[in-house]
Amino acid sequence: MRTLTKSLPAILRAASAPVAFCAAAFAFAHGSAAQAGTAAGTAITNTATASYSDGTNTYSSQSNTVTVTVQNAPALIIAPPQATPGTSTVSPGAPGSDVYTLTNVGNSAGYFQLSGTLGTNDGVTQGQPSFASFTVTVPGQSAQTFTTVAQVNSYLATGNGGSPYTVPQVVGTATSANQITISVNYTTSTSSTGTFTTNLTAAITQPAAGSAPAATSGTAIGQYGDTLVADARMDAQKIATVGGTSSAPTVQYDVRFNNGGGRAMTAVNAASLPSGISGAGIIVTDKLPQYPTGTQLTLNGTPTFVKQPAGASFIYSSNGTYWTTSATGATYVGVFIPASAITSSFGASNPGSSQGSVTSAQAQLEFTFLINGSTASGAANSTAITNVVNSIYGDSSGYIDGPGLTPYSLLNNGNTPASATAPAIANTNGTLTGSAQATSAAAPVAGSVLNGPSGFPGATGPDGTTNTDYTALSYTDGGNACCLSATNGGNVETVPASATAVTFTNSIQDTGNKYDVYTLSSATGSGLSALPAGWTVKYESPAAGLPATANCANVPGNTVITTLCVESGATVNYQTIYTPPATATTFTAYTPYGDAITATSGNTATATNITIDEFFVGGFVKLTKTVADAAGTGCASATTFVVSTTANPGDCVQYTITYLNVAPTGGTNDVTLNATSLVITENGSAAGTTNGTAYTNSWATNSGGLYAAPVDSLGNTLGGYSGGTAVGSTTFTDTIASLAAGASGNVTFKVQIK
């Protein structure tokens, strides 16, 4: 085509229209320097023009138009790329994510697809962590989580109502509109170590555009090279020192904390800390112990910092949920370390410490405080009180940690309420991470003991002290009646060879403030007769045995013992056993034999107590018969009787039978011998032999029988008269229902000599 025109420069100079033409003609050619690519389907047209002259006129000409259509040129970038992998630090046990950004750098909108195989090309491809899921976020959509490559691809290709989620290509500077993100989520175990790798392999597909067919890019590979590093870990140690006196005991605690992990500690969001604490930070809390259970021990004075992070302050609480700076009525003491102090104190790990072991040099926080101890039983036991200190702190994985909190379960993002972290404050297990405990006595040791009759270790004896209490027994050779009557006028009793042992049951009470192991020893007690040669004494556990307790081992029944373990405040029984020899031995009747048994404290050697075990052989009610004569006076008028062993016919003779219970008396809660159903039989013509000694009564023969009814001084029951009536009777009985230890009485009767 040829057109006569002015010269082209003239055209350009002469009118705005040609300028506009040229401008219009060329303007679209320029475009943006930053434009990434010509959109697929774009038709690029070009037409040449020319101007020329014949020397006078100017002509123009125009060519045909050439059209080129731009094809799809899909391309993507994955960041971080495999060539320069990203890095993440993850802590063992914590979940983690590597976020990949996929950008459409092609020349049209397209949708992404993952390529390859899970575990080889996508996900965790090397190392110990386990792949968990992919989280896919496309522009304008909420994040979606999938567990397989196929699921991801299905979502990206058809999730948009059956169509793909296409992302426009970058024009100029890439924005989030040109990108999707895919996170590779993984889990680690607490034993995971070393390094690991995640990958994401993807391509992008641009759908057909005009005459440009759909096209898919080559794959791009993203990569992270991650490292497992132990997270922040609050190590704590607590030391208790018992002081004061048993009557005014104290316990001092020294508490130390250190970040012994491999990563920095972070401040816990204020919303996750108990009320009364303002601002983010770390807290350590210590509930004062109780002793005994239900009795709260109290602060003595106020705590003192040994090593104080800048800005750290003491906090107190009476219930663990509301904290204040006032120590009044506090049952909790703690420290608040504000966020501003964490960088210098706990912001970096300080290796070397461990759970329950933090030296003063390692400590990033150390403080001491004093409590009042306890005067209650058992307070001096070394395990009387366990005092646990706890902590609530943030880790580098974005979670809140503390004893009793499930690791990596509470996000430190301000949405975790204080109620969720409260279990850490309430924790009573000082072996958990973030806590420590000190088990100690609540008082200095003060041994003390009571040793006494069965069931009454605090019994008192005749002098009113607990060293003269007693247990009295009557020995009968185990029911063999060896010694029920005396020989030689009732003064000597013989215990046959290998007779039955004498067994006492005693009780011992630990009246000290710590469990004690008492040593038992025997010596002849004051006022007692030593046992005959050959008799031995030993101690045994009760037949039922002694069950194990917190501090004392089980002792089977009838085990020979020399020591006895007793819990503070408790009472246990033991047997004191006297064993006769294999030969016969003789005892004096109505005489107490036995020992004073001493229990000596193992805690305090000067703490001793005595109980007396005594026994009688041949009975403990002694009868004594005397006779008196009213010389020259018959019974009708006799008033005065003189002890005499002779009488004349017609004299009135008066017999007196005195009965005496020789068992010990006095004191409280002692075990003694009270006689019951005692029957004294008088027969004026009785004869016989007792233990080889013959005797014969003759007053029935030599008198007219009872002149009158006998008289019992205690008013006991008389009877048993021959012929039915007292007068003239040659027999009678005196029935004494009971005769207490130490008690005595008599019965008298008169006969007139023929």
Binding site: T38, A48, T49, S61
Partner: protein, 163 residues
């Protein structure tokens, strides 16, 4: 820059300057033919294929060849063929060629031409004139030396790369 669609403007030009075919019998008559070729290198050899109607992708090179033929009876003087660097493409440096012709380029839509166009940049109050990057070229023209005799033709070419 004021932009308007081409057809109306061309119409205006025709009304103002076109004198009609009556002059054709005693005048040069230059016809133009534009040929587009897809340029590839196969086994070290440059291969050109017609591109008209063909689908190309980013990175592909397109050679535009302008063939000017004087079918008139008088020499064509001051012959200046020109063509655009189309949007979506950029000029391939050093590719403009024409026998007895020198190439000039424009970065402002044809208002100004130069063998090495410049751009003005202002930075911190300082004005700097610097050579324009070839990616900014949006038009190419060839200034023919001498006349194109009747019955002869001249060929000019340049390459662009699809962005």
């Amino acid at each position: 820059m004021k932009r308007q669609s081409m057809p109306p403007l061309l119409s205006v030009l025709a009304i103002v300057w076109v004198t009609g075919p009556a002059l054709a019998s005693a005048a040069p008559h230059v016809t133009l033919k534009l040929v587009g070729s897809h340029v590839t290198v196969v086994d070290g050899h440059v291969k050109r294929e017609p591109v008209d109607g063909v689908v190309l992708k980013a990175g592909d090179d397109v050679e535009y060849e302008i063939v000017a033929s004087n079918t008139g009876t008088r020499p064509a003087l001051k012959l200046i063929p020109m063509a655009r660097v189309p949007a979506g493409t950029e000029y391939v440096p050093g590719s403009a060629k024409g026998a007895r012709a020198s190439a000039q380029f424009s970065v402002d839509g044809g208002k100004t031409w130069s063998a090495a166009p410049t751009v003005v940049e202002k930075s911190a109050g300082v004005t700097v004139v610097k050579r324009a990057d070839t990616s900014l070229y949006n038009a190419v023209r060839f200034v023919q030396e001498g006349a194109l005799a009747p019955g002869t033709k001249a060929t000019y070419s340049y390459e662009v790369r699809v962005k």
